[in-house]
């Protein structure tokens, strides 16, 4: 049967929905941190918590971050692009690839995404050239745009494996005993 005509199972939709919700919340937090920063009460507290939360995965340097309402985003400009790219593709994923299609893009696509970021960081660190907001955002967005094509099918396969009973293959010893 043509795989495009195969029915998409409820668990595949559920896994996709969970990834979409997590990605939306994660991205919303990046914007909520500066928007609620400095406000009195619970919003200010949540903003503080969000900055601390994202600080484990991002340097949050003011000179390398976008600002809104006078405060930096929860993460730097490169990370913002990664998450924005990831969110964009996750939102439109069912329109570009069926949820029951588990074929992964070639590995070099992912390695290229990570490689160009590493190159951008390395050349800046050794002083060959100074990276810019634009270079950081383009390199970050590229990785963010390709990651869902590995994470979404991988997660759906994962849940499928958890809830599918393993195939029972009779072993030679068993055959010898029974035979």
């Amino acid at each position: 049967m043509d795989k495009n005509k195969q029915e998409i199972k409820p668990y595949q939709k559920a896994v996709y929905s969970v990834i979409l919700v997590i990605t939306l919340l994660w991205s919303a937090g990046i914007l909520a941190a500066p928007l609620w920063a400095g406000e009195p009460g619970i919003r200010g507290g949540i903003s503080d918590l969000l900055y601390m939360f994202y600080s484990k995965s991002c340097h949050q340097l003011e000179s390398r971050s976008l600002t809104i309402a006078g405060h930096i985003f929860g993460v730097c400009s490169r990370c913002t692009s990664i998450y924005a790219g990831f969110l964009l593709i996750t939102m439109i994923y069912p329109f570009i690839k069926k949820l029951n299609n588990f074929s992964l893009p070639p590995l070099w696509v992912l390695l290229t995404g990570a490689g160009i970021i590493a190159l951008d960081v390395f050349l800046d660190a050794v002083g060959v050239y100074s990276n810019t907001y634009l270079s950081r955002e383009i390199t970050g967005a590229f990785l963010g745009l390709v990651l869902p094509f590995y994470i979404i099918p991988g997660s759906i396969m994962l849940i499928n494996e958890f809830f599918t009973p393993p195939k029972i293959i009779p072993q030679k010893e068993d055959n010898a005993k029974t035979g």
Binding site: Q6, T67, L107, V121, L143, G154, M157, L158, E161
Partner: protein, 171 residues
């Protein structure tokens, strides 16, 4: 045939994560999308894949998720224990962390957007030599980040290492 145990791969993954997270300069990797944590998940899966290949068994996403997620969890627990222990040890030595943090903030300023909680943590360090708020917040953050990115590393690891055997394209 029974699959090899996952404890050693989980510990290898956790060790890689904690080494990357603790060594200065190397820990900057985690400022890039928690790459150090993802690398730990991949390392654990790589080791397990070697064991599976020797036994002639296939690597599954379930294996990757368990190894990656658990590596993240174990490394987070180890890191929280280490940080808490170090803070308490410094308190025993009468090192005033509050004044050190205060000095840093007065030199560089409190980071943009942070005020209430950060001030409270600094105040707690100044008063008591340690901050329970800091420990709770840090534990919660590590407890979310490390297992989540470890899990992503585990899934990516399976995508890397099982490609040759991956005949399932759709279900």
């Amino acid at each position: 045939m029974q699959k090899p145990g996952k404890i050693i791969p989980i510990l290898i993954g956790a060790l890689v994560i904690d080494v990357i997270s603790s060594i200065p300069v190397l820990n900057l990797l985690n400022f890039f999308f928690c790459a150090g944590v993802i690398a730990g998940g991949i390392a654990g899966v790589y080791y397990y894949d070697k064991k599976l290949k020797a036994a002639g068994l296939p690597l599954t996403y379930k294996d990757g998720a368990i190894i990656g997620g658990m590596s993240g969890l174990v490394s987070a627990a180890a890191l929280i224990l280490f940080v808490t222990g170090a803070v308490l040890f410094l308190k025993i030595l009468d090192v005033n962390l509050g004044s050190i943090i205060n000095d840093i903030f007065s030199k560089f300023g409190i980071p943009s957007g942070r005020s209430g909680l950060t001030r409270r943590i600094v105040e707690e360090y100044r008063k008591y030599g340690f901050s329970i708020t800091h420990i709770i917040v840090t534990s919660a953050v590590y407890g979310i980040f490390y297992p989540l990115f470890g899990l992503a590393g585990g899934i990516l690891g399976v995508a890397f290492f099982s490609r040759k055997n991956n005949s399932v394209k759709s279900i």
